[in-house]
Amino acid sequence: MKICVLVKEVPDAAVEKRIDPSTGRMDRSGERNLNPYDTHAIEAAMQIKEGGAVEVDEIVAVTMGPASAVRALHKAVSLGADRSVHLSDEALAGSDVAATGYALAQTLERESPDLVLLGQQSDDGECYTIGAVLADHLRMPSLTQVIKMDVVEGKLTCERQAEYGYDTVEIRTPAVISVGDAINEPRYPSLKAIMGAKKKPLDALGAGDAGVDTSKVGGEGSQVDCGDFKAPPAKQAGTIIEDEDTNETVDKIVAWLDERKLI
């Protein structure tokens, strides 16, 4: 079995996010990190490999993004991926979720994976729909927000929470699975793995190499124009108490609740 794990570099949660008003795109400068949800997808791949129920030949980390996205791949490799693929091209900048999914599907097509894993949502654009876009292009069955997955040769048994409770779904591979963060506890990379990550093979692809039709990607190729950015209706800021003396804090909470006749 060959597993491809999609990873993504996202702004660090501690850094304030902003839209560049001149382009309408996310300002991607500032601190960057591997999307925390993706570490669960890598861990899921590692657990299949180490579980022994199926033989895993290779785990390949795949990303699309600017040069800096290499760091997300290094992190993925330090967590256990055998090699990585980096799709990067000026023509891809400004792609919407559908265009991004198409470009990634073209890249994955070259790898012919038996299983594509990804995190359930990315921390920046909230594009937790990318798995469904990929699956349609790859002509594979797909399920998102999976929190338990049993793998045997050719078949996955997946559990997830949907509208009416927990669903159990059987899927014949190849398939695209988005995992939720309850699926596992990701491991920490060893220092040795971090040091060795840059030595693992990395394929750098341009749009042409991956067979991406550039008329279908980028701002021009995307089918949605996003603009008219505006601030949401102002909500009165709440009161904030920093807990220094807990007795005092509790008195303040009780007074606040009492004032509103909640106790």
């Binding site: 979720v97 929470q161 009416y164 949605v224 709440g238």
Partner: protein, 324 residues
């Protein structure tokens, strides 16, 4: 006539509330555009003529009924793509919900269409639909315009249910051949309830716990506090998935939507998926040790500190206050 096609989810003979909201919204927009709103359902024999036609009350002019498995996205993508290919639609609209996200995204790929998710408002501008979507932790709102076919996926509870329609909708059977890959997923068990049956929707005061509790036992102090307040305990998806608390008490995207007088969130960071289920609460109090937690952006009273220290003392203080 560029119509709007809506996917309506159903379970055990009832249409999903968010789907009814989407049908209502589509009917309103279709009225402004001078066109019609149609709904598509997929299922088996439980899709009776009466159930399908009942969508007319929410403004659907026609209902397309497709035979296929329930609760899986890709067969519905096949059916909606067929309906669109047969002609007459310029937009697809979905209420908030997991399946809506999956179907909408899959359909965007199939049709080469534009898609916007987490939409909170849809308007008509120059004879076209435009969708508003809050982005970046709801700090900004962006407006989507579509170059061609537009797919709009609402945020949970974004569209209000309005029984403003004129009566029964026409019901038509839609023949659809499923894609090979759509048939490779099989629902083994649907809608399994895990944990005790807890009623949180009727409670005026809710104490909710999240991952910040650290362990399942953390809920014991929340039960005590809720008991003192005379309320109930609710939970986030993360801790329900972890098995710390029953599914029936879950707030948010795939759980319940509540609007109590008091919502006290302990150890909840407040991601969008949680926010959509409780943001209409009258008073929101949050206790979290991370000062950067998004929940502080929409709480009325935010307490930055260790809930293990604060909650037991708060319980004692409220008990003393009530006794006095």
């Amino acid at each position: 006539m560029p119509g709007i096609l809506v996917y309506a989810l159903h379970y055990e003979g009832a249409i999903n509330k968010n789907s009814l909201g989407a049908v209502s919204e589509a009917a309103r927009l279709a009225g402004e555009l001078g066109t019609e709103a149609h709904a598509l359902l997929m299922g088996g024999d439980d899709l009776t003529d009466d159930l399908c036609a009942s969508l007319g009350r929410y403004g659907a002019a026609k209902v397309l009924r497709a035979k296929g498995p329930e609760g899986l996205a890709q067969p519905v993508v096949d059916a909606m793509a067929k309906a669109v290919a047969d002609g007459g639609y310029d937009y697809a609209l979905f209420g908030g919900g997991l399946l809506g996200f999956e179907i909408g995204a899959g359909l965007a790929a199939r049709l080469g269409a534009g898609v916007t998710m987490e939409v909170t408002a849809v308007n008509v501008d120059g004879g076209r639909l435009v969708a508003e979507r809050p982005i970046h932790g709801d700090s900004s709102i962006s407006t989507s315009r579509y170059k061609g076919f537009g797919i709009i996926i609402g945020r949970l509870n974004a569209f209000e249910t309005q029984a403003a329609g004129s009566g029964a909708a026409t019901v038509e059977d839609l023949d659809v051949e499923l894609s090979e890959w759509s048939t490779r997923a099989t629902m083994v068990k649907r809608g399994e309830q895990r944990g005790a049956d807890v009623d949180i929707e009727g409670a005026d005061l809710l104490v909710a716990g999240g991952r910040g509790l650290g362990k399942a036992e953390g809920f014991e102090m929340l039960e005590e506090l809720a008991g003192t307040l005379g309320g109930a305990v609710a939970a986030t998806r993360a801790v329900v998935d972890a098995g710390w608390f029953p599914y029936s008490a879950q707030i948010g995207q795939t759980g319940k939507t509540v609007a109590p007088k008091l919502y006290l969130a302990a150890g909840i960071s407040g991601a969008i998926q949680h926010k959509v289920g409780m943001q209409s609460s009258e008073n929101i109090v949050a206790i979290n040790k991370d000062a950067n937690a998004p929940i502080f952006e929409y709480s009325d009273l935010g307490v930055v500190g260790d809930l293990n220290k604060i909650v037991p003392k708060l319980n004692d203080a409220i008990r003393a206050k009530k006794a006095g």
